[in-house]
Symmetry: C2
Subunit: 237 residues, 2 copies
Amino acid sequence: MFKTVKQNKAYQDVVEQIQEAIMEGTLKPGRQLPAERELKEQFGISRGTLREALRVLEQKGLIEIRTGVAGGSIVREVNSENLSDNLGLLIRNRAVSLRDLAEFREGLEGGVAALAAQRATEQDRLVLEGLLDEAGGYLKEGRKGWDSFVRTDEQIHLALARISGNPLFIAVLTSVYHNIHTYYENYLPWNTELLQENFSDLKNIVAAVSAGEAERAREIALGHVRRFNAYMEEKKV
Amino acid sequence: MFKTVKQNKAYQDVVEQIQEAIMEGTLKPGRQLPAERELKEQFGISRGTLREALRVLEQKGLIEIRTGVAGGSIVREVNSENLSDNLGLLIRNRAVSLRDLAEFREGLEGGVAALAAQRATEQDRLVLEGLLDEAGGYLKEGRKGWDSFVRTDEQIHLALARISGNPLFIAVLTSVYHNIHTYYENYLPWNTELLQENFSDLKNIVAAVSAGEAERAREIALGHVRRFNAYMEEKKV
DNA sequence: CCGTAGTGAATGGTTAGACCATTAGTAAAA
DNA sequence: TTTTACTAATGGTCTAACCATTCACTACGG
């Protein structure tokens, strides 16, 4: 009937107070908190306890702690790094399989391409074409350019995510790419033909995005990822 | 040319060591770490520093700390609570808007429904139909059943994610649903008609999944989410 | 006048040792 | 057998000190 009364530990109370102040805007990004020796007085706790609280806030990505005379705890701009990290932990720990990752990517890339097509500015188009040129250059280098090509390929995909303007896609895809590398090396049957095909896909996606053709971009991106995944499945077996 | 040598703080070193041990499976979930007073000896640090490390690990969701005689640090089963918390922070900070969330959901639900259709077992079908019945019941209760209906709706979507068998979809969608509630209350123009339409969508999705028709499930799910989002956009303006 | 090396002070990082609070198990009492 | 009280182990907190890092200022040398 009744819930157990939550017995807050001292450091949790501090975490909550500071977090709340940040959330409601009392503490704005860039703002510096008082020094530990002063904060501990304000909260009426010991320095050790205060530091446990600060470590938690740091881990949450809410503050940054700097040493030195002008140092201290500084309120951070909220970002999705943490989300990315967490997802990375999940991927590594839960023994998420290549198939899981690939399926997940399949679900995301189409939507990202479509959104990017709707929202790309002139400048975005230039960036994409620049990356495409770069990738093309690596492709011509033959074997030794492969690694660079793959990295550029990734950058193109991430650029699309950025262009989509949706922080969730950006954070999640960043995390996925950070963690899929391991698999590429083991499972992808690298060869010139595959890379050429890949490059051709990229060109088509960028073309569709530049033309603002959302649905075409979606389809090509989806097909691209699917083919890629199919290759990996083959090799895996 | 050279990168600054990373000056690890003592507590960071401890965090990394323990985290690594958990990741590579040396420390399995449920396993209990030595008591603080012993751990500090093993690491050769003070108790305060050790505790900062443990707090970080706790915040990361890797361990749980219990008080009392049989207490201590226990390695946790990895879960997506943290991911959810993070997403919550981003939303509260307006770094992620309703539109962002909705778009993201649109990207995911189609794929989930398609996978679920491919993989649903007989038992899964029963669960889905059970949930559907439950939702239908709430719908008949009129106004006072709305909340329950929405919650059941969510459970159906989460059940689909579970059936898809992909831990990434499960984790991410769980986080999204945990956090989208805030918006529902503010932006959804609840009325019988909308709920009826919603219910009809759900029935169709479940039917397609049960029939193993992946592409149809994908399309219906996508349309479902899109319509839902469109309603919210309207109300918002 | 300008640059550079040195120096001091403020701040976080770490240590040691003590005591408080919580809790599971055990022994004693009903 | 059930309840109560005690005990010991463990995390939670406190105090007080010293170490390590960084920035700003000063004094010296050009």
